[in-house]
């Protein structure tokens, strides 16, 4: 069983379109001087109608993670362990992701991480995964 893929919506289309170009575009609310993730129509908290798209470099730190030895769903039964992670972007928001190119024992909360753009063959969609940053 393959993992469910994201289906872009009228609200989120710019994020997924640019991710296919291996760039990260998220929303920014000038009235609150804050980046926003995931994409919305109005700014969370203030409901300001001023969200604009801005490119970020996607650099960040590992906020938390787990090494799942039991699959979280049938699609991952043959892909264990799962390295489920939350990355805190330098831009502010947090994002759910998976870690790649790292041994489970080498994962440390707070470590610097960098984006890995994973093109899904035949699906026309790119996923945003993370690995330890090259320093």
């Amino acid at each position: 069983m393959s993992a469910p893929l994201p289906e872009p919506t009228p609200v989120s289309q710019p994020f997924w379109d640019t991710l296919r170009e291996h760039r990260i575009l998220i929303q920014y609310s000038p009235s609150t001087s804050r980046y926003v993730f995931y994409p919305r129509t109005l700014a969370p908290g203030t409901l300001a109608d001023d969200l604009e798209w801005r490119e970020i470099d996607g650099a960040g730190s590992l906020y938390t993670f787990t090494v799942a030895h039991k699959p979280t769903g049938p699609p991952w039964a043959e892909r264990l362990p799962q390295l489920l992670a939350v990355v805190e972007w330098d831009a502010g928001p947090k994002v759910s992701t998976e870690l790649v190119d790292v041994e489970p024992d080498d994962i440390r909360i707070g470590m610097r991480v960098e984006p890995v753009f994973v093109d899904v063959p035949g699906a026309g969609v790119t996923l945003l995964k993370y690995r330890p940053a090259h320093v």
């Binding site: 469910p4 289906e7 906020y63 938390t64 799942a68 030895h69 039991k70 979280t72 769903g73 992670a85």
Partner: protein, 401 residues
């Protein structure tokens, strides 16, 4: 402050024995509602005609119009019909809403019962519903989880709770044996409670630490087992309470706080909504933490219990691991928690798992916990927890002195 005056009470309780494999034939949720309703009404020793309120989280047979369907099916005209959608906090959320409706004089007695059996008769002509592995996540088009969580495998409960535990360890340190003691003490409580699925099966800290790691650092014996069951209470005004059979369990305070759906988007993963909810509940009830005789803490995982004890103010933030090693959580101990085993050792009967804690608290204040009875139990602290510590409810229950 405004709030409840403590003039509505739990007057009847019911909890079906937890079963891994159900002994009774399959039963529609409508019929499960009816049987649980009969149990709580008979437990209270009142006439069914006194019931004129119903709170429900839904009916498997009807996606909408749940209170009206129940009113019709049970043959009980309602002055209060409510539907609550707070995951594992639903039961505690129902209790304070029902108490508020009673105190407002809108109704006299409210059924707050929760079926917990998935053994439902299957149609021969309509295709059966297949249980989705998406669990509490929605894979519907446009759902944030469908787009930004599920594709990365962030689905279900084990992963995110383990992420919370990892972050806790990073900020405050982690003592796996201290957390294991929660499971061990609750198992000891279950061994004094015949309805628990793990009655008669004590465990040790080593058993917990040697059980398989599900999602690091959570072990299998720190997670709940799905069982078949069901639980509920009847909440009534003082007149009905006086006419009822048992010591009334007054709902003296509550708090509720909702922050997010997916913990990735929490402002602070380690300061949970129960902090605000508990503060309000204690203030409303005019009760201090030291007056609590027992606590029934929503325990989907051991880390949930630890963080609830901290955030509800029973010990300092980040001090829970030490606190746990200094306290005895069994029914004989200095701080009894989940005296019927909790969901870890009684079993989790689906949505009724949240009701387990309400019934646990009420049973103790009524003085009906049998072998597991806490001496002189007058004040119980009960929590509900929905999602991934994303929506939480605190209740203070108390008996007349």
């Amino acid at each position: 402050m405004t709030g409840l005056r403590g003039e509505a009470a739990i007057v009847g309780i019911a909890e079906l024995p937890a079963e891994k494999k159900q002994s009774a034939p399959p039963s529609f949720t409508l019929d499960q509602y009816a049987r649980l309703a009969k149990m709580v009404i008979e437990d209270a020793g009142v006439d069914p005609g006194v019931v004129n309120g119903v709170s429900t989280h839904g009916i498997a047979e009807s996606t909408m119009f749940a209170p009206a369907t129940l009113s019709e099916y049970l043959g009980l005209p309602l002055d209060f019909g409510d539907r609550v959608d707070l995951g594992g906090a639903t039961a505690a959320g129902m209790v304070w809403r029902a108490a508020a409706a009673v105190e407002l004089g809108q109704c006299d007695a409210v059924l707050v019962v929760m079926p917990g059996s998935t053994e439902i008769p299957r149609s021969e002509t309509k295709p059966g519903r297949t249980l989705s592995w998406f669990g509490a996540s929605s894979n519907n088009y446009g759902s944030p989880q469908a787009e930004f969580e599920i594709p990365y495998g962030n689905v279900g409960q084990n992963g995110p709770y383990a992420q919370i535990a990892q972050r806790y360890g990073h900020e405050f340190g982690y003592d796996a044996a201290a957390l294991a003691r929660i499971a061990v003490h609750q198992r000891e409580n279950a061994c004094a409670h015949p309805g628990a699925v793990f009655h008669g099966k004590p465990i040790t800290v080593d058993d917990v630490l040697n059980s398989p790691v599900i999602a690091d650092p959570i072990h299998m014996l720190e997670t709940v087992m799905r069982v078949q069951g069901g639980a509920g209470v009847l909440i009534a005004n003082a007149d009905v309470a006086r006419a009822s059979r048992h010591r009334p369990v007054w709902i003296k305070g509550f708090g509720e706080h909702i922050r997010f759906k997916t913990p990735t988007y929490a402002d602070d993963l380690l300061r949970t909504p129960i902090a605000r909810a508990a503060e309000r509940a204690f203030a409303m009830a005019g009760v201090s933490r030291s007056e609590v005789d027992m606590a029934s803490i929503y325990d989907c995982y051991t880390i949930t219990v630890l963080m609830t004890l901290e955030d509800a103010g029973f010990c300092g933030k980040g001090e829970g691991m030490t606190w746990l090693t200094d306290h005895d959580l069994t029914f004989r101990g200095d701080f009894p928690v989940n005296t019927a085993g909790g969901q870890l050792s009684y079993g989790q009967a689906g949505m009724a798992g949240g009701m387990h804690h309400v019934v646990d608290g009420a049973r103790q204040v009524m003085g009906r916990a049998g072998e597991a009875q806490v001496a002189d139990c007058n004040t119980a602290f009960v929590t509900g927890n929905g999602g991934i510590m994303s929506e939480q409810v605190a209740l203070i229950l108390g008996g007349d002195r």
